[in-house]
């Protein structure tokens, strides 16, 4: 459901495909709306709101992102729609939720990543904390909305009853920390090119992103086994012999030394060679830092069908990420995003 004149605000948000700011050429809109139909309807008018209600009366699921003031203006509450469609599953997605001290606060991706204790982990100590670019909190909350819908549908299959459900970005982000939030009373800090520690003891050496000949490489780790393999690979078994791995965590001098040894080990090797050698010969979680266009060309992603090419009457041919799973070794085919109001005659 899009409202006139321009439809979904993401149609006016970049990145745009070549040749201009055009409501059918926003890559953000095109990616997030594959497989959907579009109905253009001004539901701010009484007439329009009636049409919306008619559609909702017949719907299984309503997903909306109306904030408190919009809800008040429209006279909508948790019961409005469920009251005339008892099987309806309504999911509200908001930054902070419809109740609580921040319920009227404004938000944006960087604000969410700050408040969700994500930014505090990313970047160099003493320098500005960093966000992950794009719309991460929106994507993650959207995924959770999908989770809520799937579970509510499962329940409705048994009970016949719908539900009103609330997904918030902040609560979603607060779920995405690996360590308990109290972290033994310590603060999880930014750790530059290294993994941020999960405990007050600090992180293991050799868990970092380093420069190779033709770009960067990320080394994963954090266990005795991986540490020993890494030392074997570097030809430095002396670094672990007779030592307990946990005693080496947080040793900055050792971490610096291991960085240097790894850079030496990578000398003369391409990222692809490093990936293959470290992963295959040494069974280490090591991978190249790929740019987005390298990702699209990556042989494993191509093998998996992780991307699909779709044509679009205005935007032309582009590549889109597939849904993140295959079923019985088959990919679900994507279909292109709709044009603004393309399906009006079908639904109105």
């Amino acid at each position: 459901m899009e409202s006139p004149p321009f439809g979904d605000p993401s149609r006016l948000t970049g990145p745009f495909l070549p040749n201009g700011d055009h409501p059918e050429k926003s890559a953000l809109f095109l990616h997030n709306n594959t497989g959907k139909k579009s109905v253009l309807l001004d539901w701010s008018t009484n007439q329009g709101f009636k049409s919306l209600k008619r559609l909702i009366a017949d719907a299984d699921v309503l997903i909306e992102d109306w904030d408190l003031s919009t809800r008040r203006t429209k006279g909508v509450d948790a019961n409005t729609f469920v009251s005339f469609n008892s099987q309806l599953i309504e999911v509200s997605i908001t930054p902070f939720g419809l109740s609580g001290p921040y319920s009227k606060w404004k938000s944006s991706p960087i604000v969410q990543m700050a408040m969700g204790a994500i930014m505090n982990i990313i970047g160099i100590p003493d320098r500005e904390p960093l966000m992950i670019p794009g719309y991460q909190p929106d994507y993650l909350a959207g995924t959770n909305a999908c989770n809520s819908v799937a579970i509510a549908l499962w329940e409705r299959d048994h009970s016949g009853q719908g539900n009103f459900l609330e997904i918030t970005m902040l609560e979603t982000l607060a779920n995405l920390h690996q360590a308990p939030l109290d972290m033994e009373g310590g603060i999880r800090h930014r750790n530059g090119h290294r993994q941020s520690a999960l405990s007050t003891r600090g992180f293991a050496p050799g868990v970092c992103t380093l420069e190779a000949n033709d770009g960067y490489v990320t080394f994963g780790g954090g266990s005795q086994g991986i540490w020993e393999q890494l030392c074997l690979m570097m030809g430095r078994t002396d670094l672990y012999e007779g030592k307990d791995f946990t005693d080496l965590t947080g040793d900055k001098e050792l971490s610096d030394k291991v960085d240097w040894l790894l850079v030496k080990w990578m000398e003369g090797k391409s990222r692809a060679d490093i990936h293959r050698e470290a992963s295959s010969d040494w069974q280490l979680p090591v991978a190249p830092v790929l740019t987005i266009s390298e990702t699209i060309e990556d042989i494993q992603f191509i093998y998996q069908g992780s991307f699909q090419e779709l044509d679009h009457p205005v935007a032309g041919r582009s590549v889109y990420p597939s849904p993140p799973s295959s079923i019985n070794e088959k990919r679900l085919p994507l279909s292109r995003a709709p044009l603004l109001g393309e399906h009006n005659s079908e639904y109105l």
């Binding site: 890559a27 989770n147 809520s148 459900l165 902040l170 308990p180 280490l284 987005i292 042989i299």
Partner: protein, 392 residues
Amino acid sequence: MTTNGALSKFRILDLTRVWAGPLGTRALGDLGADVIKISDPRIPLDSSARVNNKLNRNKRNIGLRLDTEEGRNIFLDLVSLSDAVIENFRPRVMRNLDLTYETLQSVNPTILMCSMPGFGIKGPYSEYPAFGSTAEAVAGIVSMIGYDSDRPLQTGLSYADPISGLNVVWSVVSYARRRARKGIGCHIEMPLSESPLGVVGEYVTASSQGVSMPQINGNKSQYFCPHGAYQAFGKDKWIALSVTSDDEWVSLKSVILEKELQNAEYDDFTMRKSSEKRIDAIIADWTQSRNPDDIVELLQKVGVPAGKVTNNLELLTNQHLQKRDYFVELEEEKWGLQKYDGQSIDGNQKPKNMWHSMRKVGEDNYLILRELLGFTHSQYELLSSNGIVGTE
């Protein structure tokens, strides 16, 4: 409505370890599923950092040696009584145990299996190990983060893991619905490295038509200005703010009264963007002497998106989340009453008074074997003494 949670009649055998898988099965358990975690009895879960404890609440635990014939048979007997099996091993592990989808199907033709390999069950990297931190690198995420264009930085949080964990939930439940309606199971393959592709999809689509990626540039945005984190008063205290419209700019300059910001030229995004460094310096000058909470309060009052760069301890005591009853306290045998994040997936969750902390490896051995497979106590004792089942 069932009182034990929406998924209370759904049984999952959970072979996942570390993070992505356990986060997903934790959510399924919070929503009421009977999650039976199958652990290697030789490897304890409990530790003082409590990372496993956090991710494995609301699951039962059986310590079972899958690499023994008897252990494997017990597992297959459990498969025949279960709805789904979720695992995140490297592909060869399940192959070597002869516990592939085909084998599971032979004892339960409608079983759902969800595999979460690093890169794929087949393909050139299929046997390469992967972690959340390396998966985010191949998915293009790391190439976008940093201060300068020549130095990408990893997220530090193994971002591919939590995204994958969330994706498990809808995938498994959606195919569970199909199974309930049509009586067919399936094998869901969800590689760790694929989940992050969706959260950078707009860049994938744009890049595929030759649009160049924005250069790594701290927190700067192509579309919003000002946009970033600014140092506040106190050690490592920061606030983040973003002006996402010209109206919000007008609101911002009504709070930060510095004369230069009042320049009407700045009311236009393009003009602000061309003077971004200068504007950032003025804002930073204003924020550095102020308490972060006060800054956020002032800015939010006039409708400017702003928030404090919060650390894990502050998040745990966040008043908004407390008011919304988000957190949960669980009693742990070794560590006492511990406070954890709740469950952000709204729905008919298992009532909080029925939530339980992580069970130790093997804690439910006898109960599961007796209840589900009809083992007598002496049969169980024999299994224990042979090391087929064991406890932490």
